[in-house]
């Protein structure tokens, strides 16, 4: 009898609990319209920074490629020539590709880089429909010439960059199959799909 009464009271206590939570403020973040504040040094999509004069920081040394535990980075360096100086050093990255599906966002590339060229930004919205489009080449990694130089993790004021969401809108203009000649991405994927699991 006593246990029966106790369990009956327990049921009413349960009603009280659910009724209390009816009024509790909901912790849900309305994601696409409201974005979560990340930690300032959140590891998201990579970015290749520039110097103040617009030159690329990357010197094509391939240390990030060696450091990468997931083999996600491919760097092919080339010599700078007096007519075409892309970086202050002798060499620059002719091709710089990161397979964001392989990447584990550990940040070892960031640590390995002698010129602070590669950094991980807080951007994380990279969803797309094809595997091939997750191979980010220089056209999407390098800070556009008119968009400043990019910020090192320590310089970021908070977790949300003002252009969050830009990543998915921007489509590649570089053929990821045959180098960095400007090609419309859709065509590349259509003609060279064999090599891409997309």
């Amino acid at each position: 009898m006593r246990t029966a009464i106790a369990s009956l009271l327990a049921i009413f206590a349960g009603f009280g609990t659910t009724f209390k939570y009816f009024f509790v403020k909901k912790p849900t973040i309305q994601y696409p319209s409201v974005k979560k504040q990340h930690a300032p040094r959140f590891h998201g999509l990579h970015e290749l920074r520039r110097y103040d004069d617009g030159k690329e920081r990357c010197i094509g040394c391939e240390l990030c490629q060696i450091a990468c535990p997931a083999n996600a980075i491919t760097v092919i360096g080339a010599e700078n020539t007096p007519e075409d100086r892309r970086s202050p050093g002798e060499r620059y990255a002719a091709r710089y590709e990161i397979d964001e599906l392989r990447c584990i966002f550990c940040g070892l590339c960031e640590e390995a880089c002698p010129t602070d060229a590669i950094v991980l930004t807080p951007r994380f919205e990279m969803a797309d429909y094809r595997r091939g489009s997750f191979i980010f080449a220089k056209d999407r990694l390098l800070v556009p010439a008119d968009a400043g130089v990019g910020a090192a993790p320590d310089e970021r004021p908070n977790g949300i960059p003002s252009d969050l969401g830009r990543v998915t809108e921007q489509k590649s203009t570089v053929s990821i199959v045959d180098g960095y000649s400007a090609t419309w991405r859709g065509e590349v994927l259509k003609t060279d799909r064999k090599g891409l699991a997309g």
């Binding site: 049921i11 349960g14 009603f15 609990t17 659910t18 009724f19 939570y21 009816f22 009024f23 509790v24 909901k26 912790p27 849900t28 309305q30």
Partner: protein, 329 residues
């Protein structure tokens, strides 16, 4: 104004009622999802329209465009008819439910003098919809769900009817309008508190709602009796379930909560509003129950129905009858 022919009056009344009831169903469904979400610290549906208000319309459109599947092993005719049995019986009850009363008369399609019996008869037929659906699907989970439906609804119907008998003794009539009139001074929930508690419990079981939803029991039976149903046919079962829920809420209001009688002499507010408020409270209780209590085990459900509810209901009837016989007035 010349008196309109009776059939025209009935058709117009039915059309209005159908519209109101279907709208109520749609928003009862939304309200359930919202309330459950809030109790589980979620915001609930809020993508379709402001505050998710167009969610029922979106759901209806989805249901209509889904493929209507019939399993190869199904008994096709019965399989196709079963949802309509469920829905027709669920809707039939609204023909005689009085919603309010004005100088012009009672707000109902038909005032049957054996109203409560008619409703119990209809809800009993409603079992056929579910058990036939389970049997005709030709697959094991629906069959188990159908068997459970038959056993559960028959055993809880007994206690439910018993719990109502106390009210009938006090009111001295089986007409729903008469029962409401008998509660002008005192709502039957006070003298019939035990009957009310039993009614609420059995009503939840009768409509196969959590925590008595063993007929569907997702964790054990996939979807129970409607496992094989899809698209609009599933939608019909869904509508029937909610209509039954609203029906038993209406009946509970009429029998125990004084129908459209205003509490504390607040007759400024029209009776229909009071009726709707009371039905709304009932529906909220339903949703609250579903969020709070886990599903019963099947044998405990049967034991609870036969060993506790039925004896208590019987004693309640006897005690009420004895008191009415002994006390003057």
């Amino acid at each position: 104004m010349n008196a309109a022919p009776l059939w025209l009056v009935v058709v117009i009344k039915s059309a209005i009622l159908l519209f109101v009831v279907i709208t109520t169903f749609a928003y009862a469904m939304l309200a359930e999802r919202k309330v459950m979400a809030w109790m589980q610290m979620r915001p609930g549906p809020n993508r379709v329209g402001p505050w998710g208000m167009l969610q029922p319309a979106a759901d209806a459109a989805k249901m209509m465009f889904k493929e209507d599947l019939t399993p190869k092993t199904a008994d096709v005719l019965v399989y196709r008819i079963a949802p309509f049995i469920s829905l027709a019986t669920a809707m039939g009850a609204y023909a005689i439910i009085p919603f309010s009363e004005s100088a012009a008369g009672v707000w109902s399609i038909g005032d049957v003098n054996a109203g409560i019996l008619f409703i119990f008869a209809l809800t009993s037929i409603g079992v056929y919809g579910i058990s036939l659906a389970g049997w005709a699907s030709g697959s094991k989970f629906p069959l188990l769900g159908g068997i459970r439906a038959t056993a559960q609804m028959i055993s809880y119907e007994l206690s439910m009817t018993m719990s109502v008998v106390g009210v009938l003794i006090l009111a001295g009539t089986t007409s729903l309008v008469g029962i409401v009139h008998a509660q002008n001074r005192l709502w039957f929930v006070i003298p019939q508190l035990v009957g009310f508690a039993i009614y609420v419990t059995t009503a939840v079981a009768e409509t196969n709602r959590a925590p008595f939803d063993l007929v569907e029991a997702e964790t054990e039976l996939v979807g129970g009796f409607h496992t094989e149903y899809s698209g609009l046919r599933f939608g019909l079962f869904f509508i029937a379930e909610y209509l039954n829920m609203i029906t038993v809420s209406c009946i509970g209001t009429l029998l125990f909560l004084g129908g459209w009688n205003a509490p504390f002499g607040l007759t400024v507010i029209p009776g229909i509003v009071w009726f709707l408020i009371k039905v709304g409270l009932f529906l909220f209780l339903y949703i609250w129950l579903r969020t709070t209590l886990p599903r019963f085990r099947y044998d405990r459900l049967m034991a609870f129905g036969w060993k506790i509810l039925l004896p208590v209901a019987t004693v309640n009837v006897l005690a009420t009858a004895a008191l009415v016989a002994v006390l003057p007035q």
